[in-house]
């Protein structure tokens, strides 16, 4: 069992999910509430990873953030190492690639919160941020959880972007999905079976959890 790859995948998926919660929730909130006219452009950009081949995203990240680009030099100056083939690079790529998997469920969940409840909170003197934390988020919680779980699962299963941006460095950028590719190339079918089976089990478990969450009135106030 390739525990280094498993640990790396888990760390990458965990950090990606956390980053997406921090970035994706405000972005989703903005998408739901903004009256900005060109909002549809932002929505299209967020949805791009759904249709683009991962190689395209990886290619642009490599050229845009590579050592020879201004952004890449800035990255190197801040992080102390070049963007490609690093864990940080992998994280940036994963966050972008999983963006629609978090932002779309987040936005749907936030939009589903009754507007009058938000207005009621405002008339009771609670600030917009306070209202978000005390009303919107608690009521949108199942959808937010679903988005986070989907991002986690999607990052676990990511292959193309990881290979393009991160390469295949054991312990640093060699995730489970890349490890499976290695095992198969080396004709180590037993090892490939173990890793693939584990990934299948985790993904199935996660998706079951998400769908069960949306069906069951797990949160009592969602009844009716």
């Amino acid at each position: 069992m390739d525990t280094a790859a498993l640990a790396l995948s888990a760390r990458l998926a965990g950090l990606t999910t956390l980053t997406l919660l921090l970035l994706g929730l405000p972005l989703a909130w903005w998408l739901v509430t903004s009256r900005f006219r060109a909002k549809f452009l932002v929505e299209a950009v967020v949805a791009l990873p759904l249709v683009l081949p991962p190689t395209v995203l990886g290619f642009y990240l490599l050229t845009g953030l590579g050592p020879r680009s201004p952004a890449g030099r800035l990255f190197e100056a801040v992080a102390g190492h070049p963007f490609p083939f690093s864990f940080a690079g992998l994280l940036v790529a994963s966050v972008l690639y999983s963006l629609p998997f978090s932002v779309q469920p987040f936005a749907a969940a936030l939009a589903g919160v009754d507007r009058q409840l938000i207005e009621a909170s405002h008339t009771l003197g609670v600030s917009p941020l306070g209202t978000f934390l005390r009303v919107t988020l608690p009521l949108a919680w199942p959808g937010v959880l679903a988005g986070a779980v989907l991002s986690f699962a999607h990052t676990l299963g990511e292959f193309g972007v990881v290979l393009m941006v991160g390469g295949n460095i054991p312990g640093r950028t060699r995730t489970m999905s890349v490890a499976i590719f290695d095992h198969v190339e080396a004709l180590e079918y037993a090892a490939a079976h173990r890793t693939a089976g584990l990934l299948l089990a985790i993904s199935f478990g996660v998706l079951t959890f998400v769908y069960a969450l949306q069906r069951r009135p797990f949160f009592r106030w969602n009844e009716r």
Binding site: L117, E119, S121, T123, G125, G130, R134
Partner: protein
């Protein structure tokens, strides 16, 4: 200077009327103002603009000398800063919070002990103390309304705004809660603005009536005054009842109530719930005019007086009879000629007890 609420709210809708409503009234007497009008007249638009939930396209709002909104100065105070209490049509209770947490929601600036004391006080006053641990999903319509009212009043707002406060209730509950709501509004010590399209509600809840027609405020005045002397035909059509008399219960007999209105006594069918003050309402077309000598009839109300005014209205004539109250009757031109209904002429006004609607004013 007297403290007043003054607004001029202009808002255009894509498909619909242009709202351009302006009015002003004192905040020092007559605490409850009813914004009354048919649906689509702009009542809710005005209410939401007062609350700061929607921003008008033009105009201004001042409350007790404080500017809440001024389109020209690009000034708009947030809902939070206005300190209003808003009662939503469907009450908008937070479904994930208990009744206690709903009541405490607007008290976040108070220290914990103070907050708990205030919640207990409000719960006591609204008779919902035993509901505190429940969630809104487990409450009846009437209980929800009480919780929502308590939640809106708990932070001691400067102005209370109610959007169709009784429309979410079933008819029997609505009947029962109308008087209770009047009592709450009267004793709250806060000026209130109530939006309704229901005449009975307007009469039962309001001290002052502001009539909106097609996006404009057409008339503001004491409730019975607006009902009995509308400024124009459109207001008259909207309010619908020409004769509205402040009255006092004298006694009950055989399922009837006898009330005193002005110096006249009126007999009406007992609607229940009347204890003291009430409005007696009669539509002008339900009043029959006869020569004063008269004859026996089944109608229980026979008021004799003199014609005070006569005003032609198409094929009809509007006759005002001074008979202890100022009663308006609508008769055909032919009848008016036949009975010589000119000012000064003695005449009897006859009204069936079932044509007089009595609306209680107190719980």
């Amino acid at each position: 200077m007297e403290r007043a609420l003054t607004f001029d709210v202009v808002r255009r809708f894509l498909r619909g009327p242009v709202i351009s409503a302006r009015a002003s009234w004192s905040l020092e007497r007559d605490p409850v103002t009813v914004l009354f009008g048919p649906s689509g007249a702009g009542k809710t638009t005005v209410l939401r603009a007062l609350a700061g939930l929607d921003r008008p396209e033009a105009g201004s709002i001042t409350f007790a000398g404080e500017t809440w909104f001024d389109a020209e100065k690009r000034l708009s105070l947030s809902s939070q800063a206005r300190g209003v209490g808003f009662l939503f049509q469907e009450y908008a209770l937070f479904p994930h919070l208990t009744v206690a947490a709903n009541l405490a929601f607007g008290l976040h600036r108070l220290a914990r002990a103070e907050r708990e004391a205030r919640v207990a006080e409000v719960a006591e006053r609204f008779g919902i103390a035993d509901l505190l641990p429940r969630r809104p999903g487990q409450l009846s319509g009437g209980q929800r309304q009480r919780v929502a009212l308590g939640r809106a009043l708990a932070p001691r707002p400067r102005l209370l705004l109610l959007d169709e406060p009784l429309s979410a209730l079933d008819a029997p509950t609505r009947e029962a809660l109308r008087g209770e709501l009047r009592h709450v509004l009267e004793s709250a010590g806060v000026p209130a603005v109530v939006v309704t399209h229901d005449r009975t509600e307007a009469l039962a809840l309001g001290d002052r009536l502001a009539v909106l027609v097609d996006g404009a405020v057409r008339q503001v005045g004491p409730v019975h005054e607006v009902f009995s002397s509308p400024v124009d035909a459109e207001v008259a059509r909207v309010v619908g009842t020409e004769n509205v008399f402040p009255s006092r219960l004298l006694r009950r007999e055989d399922g009837l109530v006898i009330v005193r209105a002005g110096s006249a006594e009126l007999v009406a069918v007992d609607p229940g719930g009347i204890e003291d003050e009430a409005y007696a309402c009669v539509r002008a077309e339900d009043v029959v005019l006869e020569p004063p000598e008269g004859h026996p009839s089944s109608a229980l109300n026979r008021l004799t007086g003199v014609v005070a005014a006569r005003q032609p209205e198409g094929p009809l004539v509007r006759i005002t009879v001074g008979c202890g109250v100022s009663l308006v009757a609508l008769v055909t031109r032919a009848s008016a000629e036949r009975l010589h209904l000119l000012p000064g002429q003695r005449v009897s006004a006859v009204v069936k007890a079932s044509s007089i609607r009595v609306v209680p004013r107190r719980a």
